[in-house]
């Protein structure tokens, strides 16, 4: 299994002097530092807050894409549908279908929702790899 130092080196190798290098390292540090029970649902806003410097939205998104990708997979991207204070987790297959058809099937009522993009949000969880690194690092 890869270790923390190896991941940091990989991040630096891939991003060099770009702002995403620091963003990725801040997110990695957050995942390792915060107790696992507090990382079950990480909002986009929470990720933004833990970054030590002000960042462009696109830089943060690219860092998220990288950390949830194949090479440095420490973050899982999840989706949730929020309507009238009710929150429903959505599997990726539902998001794919909704993008293809332009309509989301309401997780409870089964009704078709046209404006699902306004009510569907990303959130994040530590990946299995992040959890293993955290355990071995403890």
């Amino acid at each position: 299994m890869v270790g923390v130092q190896q991941i940091i080196e990989q991040i630096k190798e891939d991003w060099d002097s770009k702002p995403q290098a620091d963003i990725c390292i801040d997110i990695l540090d957050y995942l390792l530092r915060v107790p696992t029970q507090n990382l079950l649902h990480i909002s986009y806003g929470s990720l933004k807050k833990i970054i030590s410097q002000r960042v462009e939205e696109s830089d943060l998104l690219m860092a998220i894409q990288y950390l949830s990708g194949e090479r440095t997979p420490i973050l899982e991207v999840r989706f949730e549908f929020i309507e009238d204070d009710e929150i429903y987790s959505l599997p990726n297959s539902e998001i794919k279908l909704a993008r293809e058809t332009g309509q989301l099937v309401h997780p409870e009522t089964g009704e078709l929702i046209d404006d699902f993009e306004d009510k569907t949000y990303m959130y994040f969880e530590p990946s299995q790899l992040a959890k293993e690194i955290k355990k071995s690092d403890a």
């Binding site: 696109s58 194949e70 949000y121």
Partner: protein, 207 residues
């Protein structure tokens, strides 16, 4: 929207001005092999566009330098890309995602025999043509003028050297094309995208 959340609409709006962000969800949601290939080729086109936009800075770049830059950009997009990874030999570019593999052979265009050698390396040495790697690519760095003519000649040479090879146009990028032939190892059709990178740079405004 709740202030600290980020909706799919926010993502789509950002994607309208940033082609890399535009395919954020496509990359996250890749499950099937065809989705992997489609997303990868769109990402290749974005990367190639960026390289071509600064051709003046690339005039002394080697094959390896150019390929390593492509590899780095793919890694930043969430792929696991490598250069010189051992896979039946040292591949120029190996890209992995969701247990799928794509292998690319990168060549600076010197002559068509050199491209043919690259085609053979890709088809008969590095790839297996199995179900997880039914596609591959030729990345052709072209420092000569008239890329269209180079690609047309290369297409004709390919047909001469490999008469049973099928050629079809690439709709998204007309300078590129696809070839398909039966892979010797797997017996499956093996589809290769031939992608030029335009690097000719001889401005005439200051002569």
């Amino acid at each position: 929207m709740p202030e600290e959340n980020f909706s799919l609409r926010d993502l789509r709006m950002m994607g309208k001005v940033d082609p890399i962000i535009n395919r954020f969800l496509d990359r996250i949601l890749v499950e099937k092999y065809d989705e992997f290939i489609e997303t990868l080729y769109q990402d290749f086109d974005s990367i190639i566009t960026l390289i071509q936009a600064n051709a003046e800075l690339r005039q002394n770049d080697s094959e390896d330098r150019l390929t390593i830059d492509i590899k780095n950009q793919l890694n930043c997009m969430g792929y696991a890309a490598s250069h010189e990874e051992k896979h039946g030999g040292h591949t120029d570019l190996l890209v992995k995602k969701c247990n799928y593999i794509w292998i690319g052979e990168a060549k600076i265009h010197r002559d068509y025999e050199y491209l043919w050698k690259g085609f053979l390396q890709l088809s008969t040495r590095y790839s297996t043509g199995d179900i997880d790697q039914m596609n591959g690519g030729m990345i052709i760095y072209i420092f000569n003028q008239d890329t269209r003519s180079v690609m047309e000649t290369w297409q004709n040479r390919l047909k001469e050297n490999y008469p049973s090879c099928d050629i079809r146009a690439c709709e998204r990028r007309p300078l590129a094309f696809f070839s398909s032939h039966i892979h010797e190892k797997s017996g499956n059709p093996f589809l290769i995208r031939h992608m030029p990178v335009i690097l000719y740079f001889k401005p005439k405004d200051r002569i």
